[in-house]
């Protein structure tokens, strides 16, 4: 095997855009299934997707439902990092799904600069 690859996927769209909310989870699912380390970063309205109970409400036509994708990404070891000021401004810091970790900008920078590649949605 080559060196372990890592993909960072930044998510900035939430339930208001189901397709752009779902596609990053599709990419993350394909990556964890392919033995690639995955870090998903949620900023802006993207934070809503890791608020408890929200993923279950998001589904885009012709895409797998978001809740099942989220479960798969977590099951296969994907990490979920959430922007600290974004969750505070929305008052949802105590309502995040299991496994979601609140962090600040320097952590995102460290994850991105140490990754093989990153995607921003």
């Amino acid at each position: 095997m080559a060196d372990q690859e890592k993909l960072v996927i930044m998510v900035t769209h939430g339930p208001e855009d189901p397709e752009l909310a779902t596609i990053p989870f599709v990419m993350a699912g394909a990556a964890v299934a392919s033995d690639v380390d995955v870090v998903m970063g949620f900023q802006g309205e993207g934070c809503r997707l890791v608020q408890r109970g929200v993923a279950e409400t998001v589904s885009a036509p012709e895409f797998a439902p978001l809740a099942g994708l989220l479960d798969s990404v977590r099951d296969l070891g994907g990490k979920l990092l959430v922007c600290s000021p974004c969750v505070k401004s929305r008052g949802i810091e105590d309502e995040l799904v299991d496994g979601a970790e609140v962090c600040a900008a320097a952590r995102f920078v460290a994850e991105i600069t140490s990754a093989t590649n990153s995607l921003v949605y």
Partner: protein
């Protein structure tokens, strides 16, 4: 058509991208190196996803074909 032996069957019919390969990755963990997984899928994306997944992960796609409205893939688990 020659039949290919399989050790485990995964029915991923009805699942949308990327769930067939997510389930494939999980099913492969149940197998020993050299054993063969049969995957059935209806998502046309699997036509390119399964070969790409095999290439990326080092597992071997032995063959693929189409049956009554679904796709069939046989994958051999890589050596550790």
């Amino acid at each position: 058509m020659a039949t290919t032996h399989e050790d485990l069957v995964l029915d991923a019919r009805g699942l949308l991208c990327p769930m067939p390969i997510v389930k494939t990755a999980k099913a492969m963990k149940e197998l020993e190196p050299g054993q063969v997984l049969k995957v059935m899928a209806t998502d046309r994306g699997a036509l390119t996803d399964v070969p790409a997944w095999a290439e990326t992960t080092g597992n071997e796609l032995l063959e693929s074909h189409e049956e009554d409205g679904f796709l069939v893939f046989h994958l051999r688990k890589r050596d550790d």
